[in-house]
Subunit: 570 residues, 2 copies
């Protein structure tokens, strides 16, 4: 249980902000932060009346349902759950049994996490008065080590509508080994928990489902509910239309992109290369493109599907720059996803050949070692800027492997484009001066103040998670839908985690995974982008979204990706 010595200075600073009688909070908050604390959050209307939970038809899996059925014998096939008004008034909301619930934040920050917790807290206050909520500190490790704090009204208050995960912090540990499952079991048993809410991405929700299965298999009382979190936007399905944090992060990045666009147009001499967070999928880059209309946007999934080479990507950029020069524009903005080079097949090949060669240690100063590279791989290596070649050869991870993640893709592209444009200059087909400026927008987007959408969506996710636990559900992910409609019409329920799963074979064993949702080239967001990108490339259709607003025009806007996927935007 939480002892005062577990609390950091931050906690103490925050805790000292009791619900203010005067409407003012202590000086650790800015005016805007303070104004958000008491921002009241609307709830879907189903919560405003007596409701009950109805089950849908039995579910299957996203793939390999046979294997998933074997991996989750107790949970597989569960129906999804939906909250509906209950005219009989025999609803759960009248079930006043006190609950003990734990909550954990897992993985990277995403704006809105605090509001999920506030949603659970308020649900319990409203529908199961006298319940208690505990926060596991520092991610899943907190469950295994039993590090936790009771989340009281005063404790939770200063984090309402605030960014970050600092209320209970997060962590990247996983509950994987039999010993770790046993540790988790001991903790929840000792605490006599009725439920556990796991707020995390695809891996964490897979883990949540494994925990739910384990607890159910042991006939324990503790249920487990997941919540879809990740700014990357790659945890979603038909019933889970979006992960929280994506909306805020994309709007923060788009504010910055819009600003450099105006800068580009005003100075008329820079090409801004903007690398955006999002390693596995390019949703962030695509959404930012839809919000801002840059001249060039590279989508990793397209590069991968079309098997483009690094030279192809460079040529495309060079081509647009030359065409723009002909139109009199010597400036532009280019968006690149952080994970771009992971999408390029030939780069993967290069990395694996290099790792092999480096492992054998026969790298000579004269470069004879390059003869061990396949011809195509050597061509690619020689095409890379020298600084990148050196970086690949010199910087290794503790296992001696090449560190691809350390490559600053946008800087690499600038150098390659520069080299190609120099050639064109010599040929006489390009006559301007190219000046590339590099940007990486990453950390500043993960912990911003949640937008009105993320604040409200997260609150509903948490409120819904509370209702699912109260009704005894387990192995579901909290699902709030119909998001293009007014908030009162949003649907609330839970989707079986097993229904999102497929298996991957690792070390000869089947492992369950929630497949990351990638950018679909046939999906509405990509299609809209693809239909407009030529115009954006050569003409200037820049849009500058400006800073996120909490009141007034633009404050209730929802991101394009979500609206397009819901079919609510042409």
């Amino acid at each position: 249980m939480a002892s005062p010595s577990d609390l950091t200075g931050d906690d103490i600073a925050r805790i000292s902000i009791n619900p203010p009688a005067t409407g003012r909070v202590a000086s650790v908050y800015s005016e805007v932060q303070a104004s958000r604390i008491d921002h009241s959050l609307p709830l879907p209307s189903v919560f405003k009346i007596p409701f009950k939970i109805v089950d849908g038809p039995p579910s299957s899996a996203a793939g390999n349902s046979e294997e998933i059925a074997k991996l989750f014998p107790n949970l597989f096939g569960q129906p999804s759950a939906l909250l509906v008004p209950d005219q009989t008034n025999s609803a759960i909301s009248s079930d006043k049994k006190k609950l003990k619930i734990g909550v954990v934040l897992s993985g990277g920050q995403a704006p809105g996490g605090h509001n999920v917790i506030c949603g659970i807290f308020d649900y319990l206050e409203e529908h199961a008065k006298g319940s208690s909520l505990f926060g596991f500190r520092g991610g899943p490790a907190g469950i295994m080590k039993g590090k936790l704090v009771e989340l009281t009204s005063d404790f939770v208050y200063p984090y309402r509508n605030q960014g970050g995960f600092d209320m209970i912090c997060s962590g990247r540990d996983k509950i994987e080994t039999p010993e770790q499952f046993q540790q988790a079991e001991e903790t929840v048993t000792k605490m006599d928990l009725d439920g556990l809410v796991v707020i995390g991405g695809d891996d964490s929700n897979t883990n949540a489902c494994l925990l739910a299965e384990y607890f159910r298999g042991k006939n324990m009382k503790t249920r487990v509910i997941g919540c879809p979190k990740t700014i990357d936007g790659d945890l979603k399905s038909k019933e889970v239309p979006t992960s929280f944090g994506f909306d805020t992060a994309c709007k923060i990045y788009s504010e910055m992109i819009g600003n450099v666009m105006i800068d580009a147009r005003s100075t008329g001499k820079y090409y801004h290369f903007v690398r955006l967070m999002g390693r596995a999928a390019s949703h962030i880059t695509l959404e930012c493109a839809l919000q801002t209309h840059p001249n060039i946007t590279i989508i990793g999934e397209e590069v991968s599907e079309k098997k483009l080479t690094l030279k192809n990507v460079t040529d495309y950029i060079v081509d647009v720059i030359c065409k723009r020069a002909e139109n009199g524009y010597n400036y532009g903005v280019i968006l690149v996803p952080e994970g771009l080079i992971d999408f390029i097949p030939e780069v993967q090949e290069l990395i694996s050949e290099l790792n092999e060669i480096l492992a054998q240690g026969n790298v000579d100063e004269e470069g004879q070692w390059k003869k061990n590279l396949k011809e195509e791989t050597l061509n690619l290596f020689e095409f890379l800027p020298q600084t990148i070649q050196e970086q690949l050869m010199l910087e290794r991870d503790p296992h001696g492997n090449v560190q691809v993640a350390k490559i600053e893709t946008e800087k690499m592209l600038i150098q390659m484009v520069e080299t190609e444009l120099e050639k064109k200059k010599e040929e006489g087909t390009y006559k301007r001066e190219f000046m590339g400026k590099s940007h990486f927008f990453g950390y500043e987007g993960r912990c911003g103040l949640p937008t009105n959408f993320d604040a409200t969506y997260c609150y509903a996710l948490g409120y819904g998670a509370g209702s699912l636990l109260q009704s005894g559900k387990t192995g579901l992910i909290s699902s709030v839908g119909n998001l293009a409609a007014p908030i009162e019409k949003w649907t609330v329920g839970g989707t079986p985690l097993t229904s999102l799963m497929d298996v991957e074979r690792r070390h000869g064993k089947f492992k369950p995974v929630i497949k990351k949702a990638m950018v679909e080239l046939e999906g509405a967001p990509f299609k809209k982008f693809a239909s407009q990108r030529e115009e954006w490339a050569l003409k200037n259709r820049y849009i500058s979204p400006g800073p996120i607003q909490f009141k007034g025009p633009g404050s209730d806007a929802i991101n394009h990706t979500l609206l397009l996927e819901l079919g609510a935007q042409a």
Copy 2:
């Protein structure tokens, strides 16, 4: 005169947005941008009643008044001008003579530039109906080449309260040689201009004053008025309390800093090193520190005044990191001004010795050349991370000189801190893992949507410039004061540009300069920072300002630097 072929696609896109009958604008605007266009700007109350201009006492210069008097025989000693209510009603506002005015944007973008132009335009509409306003395109070069466009109501409209300088763009050319002055003369004579407004920083306002002197000396009718622009905040004096753009840029950077602070606290494992724009002075870094309370802030002027070495700066950072580790904090946020190394005397010495050695070309692979460095300089060179050493030796500008500006100071500091912490680990005096993350916040701050403060301040500057020209003033910089008071009580007038000047000796000649306003270690902003930084270093007092708001809480806040300098904040 502007021909349609001068117009870019951008212009055409913008121009097509006529004042909308429906209250909606074309799709090239985001909702927030569109909402700002019709945001009505309050004016100081002196403009709402008949006013006249009264002169103050004769002025002098900021230094070397004798030389300034010689350089500006026609302008030196001019009184400052102040707008006051005119009960007699014989005020200028009744003088309905039509004017022809030109306006030019000079140097780097700063949020609010468009509003200065709108202010001039609206002043003329209101007080000299039938006047015309022309925008010189692409900065001072536009004056010399006669590249301009007439700024009509429709043309100006879509830029109201918008960021960037793209209405007429800017440039960094200077009007310096006798031929260039003559070109300027020809342009304004041919256009029959009554006045010219130069919107720029210290250099551009010096240039404006030289033009004013030249025109006056030739008995030309064209008057010249300057406007104080620069996000760097280093153009200010008693009568010019701030330059526009500083408020917005600092708030944009502070939003991002506040976000990485929450990220640092949530993850608990990163030290974020943030480099901020501002090469010559550290006002931006200081203001961002006052807004966000980082753990460490390096102010260039302090480094310079205390003659600190790079080792001193590194040791200070390392010391705070070790103390924080003892308090259980393995994370933090560190602000560094872009121009830091320019402030370090020993770095200047190193650069000059290196340039000398490189010019002689005797640099050998074995490093014997290092023997030509002075002992202290060699020590500093050896203290630099290897990548920086290589960068200094390899990357030269077209004159063969070392390129200091290309050094990414925050990355260099991370490497140096890492090395020192490694030593401490070996000694056993530091036991944590240090992970530094680098950020540069620059371009994204120059072209944001102006804050309410910058929007209103700029509009008043432009409106005031119009009134000064109408009353025949020249060689003044538009000055809006009493900024801590409600807007209606702001004062409006003009300050003699010569009164801001000193001379510098260059190539044996005296050249007039407006001295950059540096961070004063005895000034209120630095003193407030200095009195609190120890607490910020060891405890966490992070404040996250959040995104700039245009409505509601926080939307009318003014930056700390200005308020403290005005004595309006303790």
